[in-house]
């Protein structure tokens, strides 16, 4: 008989961590939940091709949804029973601890500084999701992330997790993101529809290209869901063999974002 601790959980008892809402809306709509799951699949596929697991998430400018996207992608990955670590490396304007309602006394910058150990700082959000907040604000975060200590630390914890998601500051505003992305397997860029300009995105691309940073792809935030679903623009999704119809047949007992107790 299989040991209970190693028995794979059934779909009904799977991690039902809720996604975090946006700055103006706490409740996450169904369509958004599904969109994050779709993004999850594409990200996994892309990382498998390069045998990577450490992803830096950034955007051209501020307020384009990268922190929300970072945490929601991490939650979506953890729902597959994958061990995921989220690092809030945006020390200048950290928000992940606010979204998850956790403390931010010590974090990744303290680890890099050597004042604390990883075990003392990591916060277990659930069985599959660990969080490291930004921690003590530093006057020179870019220099700290440039140190070998950060690279070594990242290498050391790499094997402990299936995926490591690093939320970084905007690329066009500060250099932190570029420094961090150089030490990751790839960079995922977040843009916001009707907000991010082409010029800003082009500057971002130019910056990353010069440093040979591997851009995994782009996530477009805030699109018009009516068009996205009505016209079925699955051009790129289609090549991954993913169909919405096929997914809905696979639904688990509780839909994303609602715990079983609430349903009763």
């Amino acid at each position: 008989m299989a040991n209970k601790t190693t028995e794979k959980p059934s779909l009904s008892t799977q991690n039902n961590e809720r996604l975090v809402g946006s700055a103006t809306q706490n409740k996450v709509p169904f369509a958004v939940v599904e969109a994050y799951k779709t993004t999850r699949i594409h990200l996994i596929s892309t990382l498998e091709k390069i045998n990577g697991k450490v992803v830096a998430i950034s955007s051209p400018n501020a307020a384009e949804g990268k922190s929300t996207t970072a945490i929601n992608i991490a939650i979506a990955l953890s729902q597959l029973n994958k061990k995921v670590l989220v690092i809030d490396a945006d020390s200048r304007r950290s928000t992940i601890h606010k979204k998850l309602k956790i403390e931010n006394e010590l974090g990744c910058l303290d680890i890099i500084n050597g004042t604390v150990k990883f075990e003392d700082v990591v916060k277990k959000h659930n069985d599959c999701l660990d969080i490291i907040t930004s921690g003590t604000q530093a006057s020179n975060p870019s220099e700290l992330f440039s140190t070998d200590e950060f690279g070594v630390w990242l290498t050391n914890i790499r094997d402990s997790y299936d995926y490591i998601i690093i939320d970084t500051p905007p690329i066009n505003l500060v250099s932190d993101a570029l420094v961090i992305a150089q030490k990751c397997d790839g960079l995922l860029l977040i843009v916001r529809a009707d907000v991010t300009t082409y010029d800003a995105f082009k500057r971002t691309i130019d910056s990353t290209t010069e440093l040979n940073i591997n851009i995994l792809g782009v996530v477009i935030n805030g699109t018009d869901s009516e068009k996205s679903y009505k016209y079925g623009k699955y051009g790129r999704y289609g090549k991954y063999g993913y169909s919405r119809y096929g997914y809905y047949r696979y639904r688990s007992s509780s839909y994303y974002g609602q715990s079983n107790s609430e349903k009763k």
């Binding site: 369509a31 529809a193 300009t197 082409y198 995994l216 996530v219 699109t223 018009d224 509780s254």
Partner: protein
């Protein structure tokens, strides 16, 4: 203003080629319909007068004495006539002859109208011929106006310059359509339609500075789109999908709950 390469301009046109062609066709068809069914056609008929200063005697006035006169036709007379033709052209453009013509036509048109219909000019500076053209809404009308004018022109000229030899060398018997020129106007209409469509597309392209959606992004950048997250405020709720039977009750049955 940012620089845009020629290649980018061509690319913009090719991406919206359907719109450009449609616009060209619409304007071409519209122009054609206007030319054929709306525009009032105009026809032009032409006749000509030859005039001399009297030194060159016309055939009608020949006498036997003239035939014996070896100095009847000389270069001086020809040169004088050529110069005289300019004056005659001016005479033929005065209001008086058009008033006479209006009377001949029983006041159907005023003299100013007749003058506006007409075109009187020398064929070229080395000829004694003066071309008389009239434009009207029907072929017959144009021909009538030219021929009536040619009838009164010689006497009118003589009233100014006596002993002038003015002869109608050719009367009008056909009239050609001068307006509208359907084929060329239709082609121009199509070209204008295409230009207007492209101009609008180009202005929209220049004014579009933000990423709108996946298609917009794909047009500009060659990067994979891993996800498209709908706006939280306007995204569809589960109620929207319930009507398609894509709801949580399906999963409930599968798990025996």
């Amino acid at each position: 203003m940012k620089n845009i390469s020629l290649f980018a301009l061509v690319e913009i046109a090719l991406k919206h080629i359907f719109i450009i062609i449609t616009s060209a066709l619409i304007l071409a068809i519209g122009t054609f319909c206007y030319c054929e069914f709306v525009a009032i056609p105009q026809y032009s008929a032409t006749g000509s007068i030859m005039v001399t200063n009297g030194g060159i005697v016309s055939v009608d006035t020949y006498t036997e004495d003239d035939l014996d006169d070896e100095e009847n036709l000389n270069n001086t007379d020809i040169q004088a006539s050529l110069s005289f033709a300019n004056t005659v052209t001016d005479i033929l453009n005065t209001n008086g002859i058009f008033k006479d013509l209006s009377s001949e036509l029983d006041g159907k048109y005023s003299y100013s109208q007749l003058k506006s219909f007409s075109s009187i000019s020398r064929r070229n500076t080395s000829t004694l011929f003066i071309d008389i053209s009239f434009t009207a809404t029907s072929r017959e009308e144009a021909i009538t106006l030219v021929n009536e004018y040619l009838k009164i022109a010689p006497d009118y000229i003589n009233s100014f310059v006596p002993k002038t030899a003015a002869t109608a060398t050719s009367t009008a018997d056909t009239a050609s359509k001068v307006y509208p020129r359907t084929l060329i106007t239709t082609v121009i209409g199509g070209v204008v339609g295409a230009i207007i469509a492209y101009a609008i597309i180009f202005l929209i392209y220049c004014a579009n500075t933000v990423i709108k959606n996946e298609e917009d992004f794909k047009d500009r950048f060659d990067l994979p789109i891993l996800g498209s997250i709908p706006d939280f405020a306007t995204a569809k709720s589960e109620k929207y999908y319930k009507k398609y039977n894509y709801n949580s009750k399906v999963g409930k049955k599968n798990n025996g709950k």
